[in-house]
Subunit: 302 residues, 2 copies
Amino acid sequence: MKHLKITTAELSKICGVSQGTVDRALNNRSDISAETKKRIINVARQYGYREYVDSNSENKIIGQVGIIVFNLNNEYFSKLITETELVLHKLGLSAVIMITHYDKQYEIECIRNMYNMGVQGIVLCSVNRGREFDNYLRLFDIPIVAVGNNIGSVPYVGIDDFSAMRDMTAKVIADGYTDLIYFSPALKYADAYAQKLRYSGFLSAVPNRKHKTVTDMEEISESYKDKTAIICSTDYYAFQVYVKARNVKIVGFDDLEAIEKYKIRIDSVGYSLPEIARLAVDIIVGKRDSGVIIKHSIIEHT
Amino acid sequence: MKHLKITTAELSKICGVSQGTVDRALNNRSDISAETKKRIINVARQYGYREYVDSNSENKIIGQVGIIVFNLNNEYFSKLITETELVLHKLGLSAVIMITHYDKQYEIECIRNMYNMGVQGIVLCSVNRGREFDNYLRLFDIPIVAVGNNIGSVPYVGIDDFSAMRDMTAKVIADGYTDLIYFSPALKYADAYAQKLRYSGFLSAVPNRKHKTVTDMEEISESYKDKTAIICSTDYYAFQVYVKARNVKIVGFDDLEAIEKYKIRIDSVGYSLPEIARLAVDIIVGKRDSGVIIKHSIIEHT
DNA sequence: ATGAAAGCGCTAACAG
DNA sequence: CTGTTAGCGCTTTCAT
């Protein structure tokens, strides 16, 4: 009925039946002949009416959870989406995805749009942040969980990016590498909060050491001397560096499958995306064992 | 209001005001004091009231188009989604995406789900096919466009996979390669229709030539003799072959960005994903210049 | 199975 | 500003 651009009263006149009969036809009620129902529905269709399509499947989808991410060209997101879907599936829910392409205003529209489509909760990888955005999120009385970027005002599920990069950097230093290059094109973007945290973690591990920060692939050479390590803020970058500079220690972040698949020699900070997916859905469907409201769920990194 | 579990009449009694005043408070109408409004909203919240979230954005989203794909780990899909979104955006529409993970039954549920969420059309990359599926699709009185796999019963937008692979293979032969290996793990899957078409195209170009068909990466060697070409049914596979076997002619399909980005020496069948996206949206929003209903739009390949 | 009519809930109009 | 009243659209009930 939300698509019907005509009243049931008008429809009843057009069809030459009573308003009650129109109601019976359009709302799957009893006490109506198949013939009359068909006739009314056919007229109603011309005015935007849509029959509700029901399912007789055992695995009927009974509700949606939204996933809003700023990017799709990244295994982090495709895996996150896949894993989240697996968890939702068992609960009879489905995932609907929207991509914001780093557009803050569009992200705001997406959230509103998702909400008005009736999703039961939103997994949000946001480029927005701050007081005003917090107030905006408060308009929505459905659970919203942040992943990827911790925006503060809603529960965050993920690793501690700062510690993870600090630990990884410390390990590289312990392994004897003395020339450290930090490679992170994402640092150029103002809204890459997690990226900034990783960089802070790196810096905290190299207070008295020689190091260089690089944000552009052009600055990456094709060869380096023996004790050089290039620490990349994501495996996505590590992979690109690997293609260009073969004989250098490369360190990544996110533990992409491609790294293992292509047998590439890149050490990487790892964490469990299935666990992030599970925790995010847990928060949204409110199925946590304890009744306690979890504000943040920081998971382990390796 | 759809979340209000109490009537405005009851609310008016609780708050000691008239029904009209409750209506003014809950629906952002004028002629009400901020104080009274606040008091009523506070009470209403306890009964499930949600403030209506509207947008004052210039780029307000006014409707959705669904995109259903079976996979996300592929540049074809991430680009298709991106490009489709760009086109929709200009029309004030947004894309909502669902991933089926090659699950036929779930795909059927996704279509139903999308429809019931109110999308204005669906771009469908399907694993289903056949008479029964055709009948199912007929239940939905919104435009559905097939991409990736031509399922026959709805308009298809894309290249002619058969001719594209036949042409590419002919070119490889003309270039003097004599040992041809066709690599396509996807052939193992029953529902990869486009993949089967590409394979048929290959076979049609090598009727009297020595060739070998490989469906498993394990069978790919690390080196080949001079006149060998490995023809891969997608760049996704070509890329994997490239990592394993360096000194061999490799041919791909889809023209992924990564090929160029990483300066990899792979020839590839190319086509315009933006054009596919544009044509698909054209069909859905019915904005074609001619009033003719386009059944299929086969675009050029290079 | 259908129509007529009553009922309910939300919104709009009008009066002070 | 607020209450009162009227109206509209959808649903339910009752009678045939």
